[in-house]
């Protein structure tokens, strides 16, 4: 049905292996022979079958990206970086959403090992640990993105959570806020710990004690941000600023503030690790720590391809700097609009 290498070979008057050599640029081929083969390929609109090639050569030129949810703008941008870098090196990318569900992770892992992908880029959760050690025993290469995982020694690319959190906290403390609350993600995640540590470090450096009632630990979801903000607002001594541990929490913070009819930034300042998606300068009045998500994706992919090529032995942990984006209010004491 479809044109095969043998068909091309026949037409060019050579053997299949010569066609293979022309296509892959391996070994010597007489110039004239090569021209004949190329002409035949062109004329017959031959498209090599990479399934057969992969079956024989034991490599697929295919990677997979496992993220918790592509809909989160951080991961969207990471994905774009991954895809650009992969495409540049002629690799294809399988996209998988795990929803932080180990069962889904397992199902994808099965699917991907069956397809013999050359490597995985993974945005892990604490529950991923067992899957990751299985990858190690299966000798499947992978790179972690965004978070390190306890007990797993693996290439990792992430942003400087501790430094970013310290910076933004310090910014608030030096602009007059005495009571900055922190709503963070699980301490079982490296980002949860690092951001909390940064928040703490900034207080230490400023010589300020922390009211432990100002620290709320939940999950990286919008509802969590909403609930914990309500707790903060219900307390006797409210904070004057809330530091959201990621963009989803920040949305929950805004939800709770709107519900309480509080106005930004005068009634409450809100800052966030990770920006809100897309609207750039037009979102709520949030100063934010910006992560180099696109670069994270590109670099992680590069690292993985090196690992696949066995170009490296040591485990690499790459930590990229974050950027503090300061946004002032419009001075109109506006509430986020619904």
């Amino acid at each position: 049905m479809a044109v095969t290498m043998r068909d091309v070979a026949e037409r060019a008057g050579v053997s299949a292996i010569t066609v293979s050599r022309v296509i892959n640029g391996t070994g010597y081929v007489h110039e004239e022979t090569q021209a004949r083969v190329l002409a035949a390929i062109e004329a017959m609109r031959y498209v090599p079958n990479s399934l057969a090639r992969s079956l024989r050569s034991q490599q697929t030129s295919t990677l997979a990206l496992l993220v918790t949810d592509i809909t989160n703008s951080f991961w969207t941008t990471v994905a774009r970086g991954v895809e650009d870098e992969a495409a540049a090196q002629n690799y294809a990318i399988f996209l998988c959403n795990t929803d932080e569900d180990p069962a889904k992770e397992d199902r994808y892992l099965e699917m991907l090992t069956q397809r013999r992908v050359d490597g995985l880029l993974i945005g892990p959760t604490p529950d991923s640990a067992s899957m990751l050690s299985r990858l190690h025993t299966l000798d499947i290469k992978f790179v972690l993105i965004d978070r390190a995982v306890d007990g797993i020694a693996a290439d990792t690319v992430r942003s400087d959570s501790r430094g970013g959190a310290a910076n933004i906290t310090q910014h608030m403390l030096t602009t007059g806020h005495q009571r900055v609350a922190f709503i963070g993600g699980p301490l079982t995640t490296s980002t949860g710990r690092d951001r909390l540590n940064g928040y703490r470090a900034a207080h230490m450096a400023a010589g300020l004690a922390i009211d432990t009632e100002l620290i709320k630990i939940g999950s990286y979801h919008r509802e969590s941000g909403r609930e914990l903000t309500s707790e903060l607002l219900a307390a006797e001594r409210r904070p004057t600023a809330i530091f959201a541990g990621n963009n989803q929490i920040a949305l929950g913070v805004l939800d709770a503030l709107v519900a309480a009819r509080m106005h930004l930034p005068n009634d409450m300042a809100v800052i966030s690790f990770d920006d809100l998606p897309g609207v750039d300068g037009y979102g709520p009045f949030m100063t934010a720590v910006i992560q180099p998500a696109y670069q994270i994706g590109r670099i992680a992919t590069r690292l993985l391809l090196e690992r696949i090529a066995d170009a490296r032995d040591e485990v690499e942990e790459i930590v990229l700097p974050t950027q503090l984006v300061i946004r002032r209010s419009c001075g109109c004491n506006a509430v986020p609009v619904v």
Copy 2:
């Protein structure tokens, strides 16, 4: 090296084909035999090689999603829908960003045909037409998302651009705006035409003539929205509202308004086809036409899988209703904040 079907067969004391039958649930296998095979699979941690399977069976259970840019929140959400539906049917998804670049489209098409994907989900541009007719001649199944393409008869899933645009325009006209400008995408796209037609239809229905100076046609990019808004602001008789043809244009509109130190919504109302990403109720004060992006992704995938299964002969064009989300200002005459 890796465990093969033959290894499993040997251990279970059967032939490879029996193992195959157990795995695929094809043909009869004695219960006891099946149990022995399953035990062997389990014990040896056998993972079938889908490359070999695909090579023989001529199907890969793999689809590809070609979008212009996954970073656009509309496409992100479509991708999520695609991936969920595909995963539910045990299909994997290759993600490809084309950046509206025919050369990139071609490169991906080559990559994907080599990998023998079962079908493609495509967010096309007008320049995709030649690629699409090539797909037809290659007999590769595909479904178009978001836009129809001139001269290409193919399954299509999109939202009701004309109806949505008419609705939102009508909303503005009935709330007192006399001069609603329209900044749309290329008229070579079905969305460009349909949205403009909806805008026009609403005026007709209201018995209002349209000042042709209020209609600006550009591209679906932020810069285009910015430039054309500047033109509108420079005109003698300004509009009182601007209707952006998609979310990127809307961002450009906001850029231009901020630059002109104009305040929303009192100095200028802004409405948009397609919402701004992510921030839901917290973005700028924009009433918007919302597209069911997630459903578009799911339905398109379902359609493609039907097509692959040869379950259908006629070409289907599915048009999903949009939703008008009305957002009022906060009453504080605020400017979008930077």
